[in-house]
């Protein structure tokens, strides 16, 4: 039944049925979490051998250094080489860091805020106003960084080819607009891959701010769910061609390759950006955990080893994404209660409810023991103007739990839509 075309009596009847179904689920005492993009335990198990690749004192030397001792601010060269392959950027432009790319992004933003960019006039905190472009829906932790620093976030609509570049170009002409968040491959939450044209326009566009920065969070660079290997144009090369090499700072990590929180993160940037980062970083610390870097490099001698490893993740993840899509199609297909995307990589399914229902669905689910990412979380300041978008994270629960959780979700989505249409 298409809810938007149903009669009032049909809707009233459905409302009672859905309410009964919902209450039955509420009694079950479910405790299911689809809120964050956490790998499942079976995925974490895949890295078991990494735990013991370094087991003896005599294995602890990297090419340059005893990894157990102090030193090497930018990480061991083996690790920088590995990330150089992933970023497709020269080794000298890669900094291998600690356990979190989010922290590298935060710290980079803080450096811009407190000390200013190498090509900027002043620290950003000394600017009258700092604005930042936020493709939406997007990643809440990105937005939190801007919000903590009091930047003004400007939402930019995402398209299946990336952020709407007509709008980005128009906004970037404002000199108080200092940058943009990008998750260019399997975007969070939609799973879109930026088109060649989008990447080119980002690299070549005129910006009002000389120190405009693209935070290129390539979190899902090797996180495929299918056999397809969408090619993302190399923005570093494009910026080089455009003479805007300081514009882009690239980030990634092995958080969803080996262990979240115990992986290795990295960034890549122009010579000038790297020198600037190092000059400030050298006061913040002596160096990253090189033992864990070496452990990763022993486990992954090259990018092919990572690719092979990611196929094992896909084998575990794909059935979960398929289960979600199947249940959504079965329960919501043709109802008008929502639409969704079936991504080819990444960690999320982006769901758009009937307008004005996302918060209600989140609440209904929570009361039934199913935890979703907060409605609105995919928008700056937590404000989804249409109250529609919900990020579904299917990776953590086993398929059986996921199925139960999605059944609850679909009942809630329909119930919220019926409530909204009926005005109850």
């Amino acid at each position: 039944m298409n809810l938007t075309q149903a009669s009032n009596s049909e809707l009233n009847e459905l409302y009672l049925t859905l309410k009964k179904q919902y209450e039955d689920y509420c009694c079950k005492g479910l405790k299911l979490d689809m809120s964050r993009g956490k790998p499942g335990a079976d995925q974490l198990d895949l890295a078991e051998e990494m735990l013991t690749v370094l087991s003896k004192n005599e294995q602890m030397l990297s090419r340059e250094i005893d990894t157990r001792n102090y030193g090497l601010l930018t990480g061991i060269v083996e690790c920088r080489e590995l990330f150089s392959e992933i970023f497709e950027v020269p080794v000298k432009n890669v900094i291998a860091g600690g356990n979190s790319s989010l922290t590298m992004m935060y710290d980079t933003m803080m450096r811009l805020w407190v000390f200013g960019a190498p090509d900027g006039k002043r620290p950003w905190c000394a600017e009258k106003k700092v604005k930042w472009l936020c493709p939406v829906p997007g990643y809440d932790r990105h937005f939190s960084i801007c919000q903590q620093l009091g930047m003004e976030m400007i939402p930019v609509p995402m398209t299946e080819n990336g952020p709407d570049m007509d709008i980005v170009e128009a906004l970037a002409a404002d000199e108080s607009v200092k940058g943009i968040w990008c998750v260019p491959k399997y975007s969070n939450p939609q799973g879109y891959v930026y088109s060649d044209e989008c990447v080119r326009r980002l690299a070549h566009m005129n910006t009002g701010a000389a120190d405009f920065r693209i935070f290129w969070d390539n979190a899902y660079v090797v996180h495929h769910l299918t056999e397809e290997r969408p090619v993302l144009l190399n923005i570093y090369d494009e910026c080089a061609a455009a003479g805007t090499l300081n514009r882009v700072i690239m980030f990634t990590s092995t958080s969803k390759v080996t262990y979240p929180g115990a992986g290795v993160a990295a960034m890549a940037a122009s010579d000038e950006n790297v020198e600037w980062s190092k000059k400030i970083m050298t006061v913040q610390g002596i160096g990253p955990d090189k033992v864990n870097q070496l452990r990763h490099c022993m486990f992954f001698p090259d990018i092919n080893a990572i690719e092979e490893h990611m196929k094992k993740h896909a084998i575990l993840l794909k059935p979960k994404f398929d289960a979600v899509a199947d249940i959504l199609e079965r329960e919501l297909g043709g109802t008008g209660a929502g639409s969704w995307l079936a991504p080819k990589g990444g960690y999320f399914i982006s769901f758009d409810s009937y307008p004005g229902c996302a918060k209600r669905i989140h609440k209904l689910c929570a009361d039934a023991g199913v935890i979703l990412t907060n409605a609105g979380a995919t928008y700056p300041y937590g404000i989804d103007p249409e109250d529609r978008n919900i990020r579904i994270a299917p990776s953590l629960p086993p398929v059986s739990e996921l199925t139960a959780a999605m059944e609850v979700f679909c009942i809630c989505a329909k119930l919220a839509a019926v409530e909204k249409i009926l005005g109850v």
Copy 2:
């Protein structure tokens, strides 16, 4: 021969002899490093078993969480308990972090700078002037943090009981003085332990700034060289008694217990400081490397295990400190060319040259292939007003190399003194 009482002809003769000895060493092509407090490879070898204490998937659960996955901003409880024993502070007041206490100090200072203290009027960057007390000689990396932020560092003389508290109290009355660096046990570089009176006065003194902070860097809390166990008064308890619990933030790490750069760092502070830290930290990252925390907690079930482990370090380190002291006594005893301290813990020997000779000694040593910590490094802005203090770090080189390096050092110390006295 006491150089300060020698005749000119004696000095001239000695000058030629020393110069000849020095030139002989220069020809040897030495390459010896006593510049940083790095553990020797034999010390790092002591932690070999820690590499494999976690070897199986089923071992990766802490009491609260799968350590491999995201979460737990303040670290796993096992690790917080271990540091709670070390700090002698309740578990709830402990944050177990990443691989570097220096980074925790830097990040804490940055939070005060950008966001302000929970009990402060405004972010420190918005103050007209921020001053910071620096006991001297002290740790160069502490000073670098203040310098990078543009704080005004005020040197305070160290005594064998801690910083000169008459001076500290007088300076702290100025409301623009926001805090002080302290290495309270086996201070860097002298190896002094703060007296009970000093700790009490730090906790109880009146400060002009309501948001005055003591950065209590207890880096060498378990790093004994002898059988003595000097008791450091618990400043946390003293601050509690004084009603100044927000004043102190404690830091330490296992960098020189297990691995520098691949250890675990921690901080401890009041409820209010911890809540304030967490609120800002939660935007900077999702959590520390919990796998490495669990690895440490398996290797060290409690503080006794750490104490036992540190005895093994002392067995390796003590002969190095003894060798340095023996050579200094043999070559410089009674010459007036310098004085030094024989510490009972920590990582350094603090050497004071004949006045105005430290830079010259550093240069002479460097030219002969012996790298020392930069002269002046133990003072804010790298300026040692008397140009005397040199921090000797004997831990890294094997004893044979250390002996060679110290022989060069002593020749350089005498040569520089003779040059200075003769005015050549």
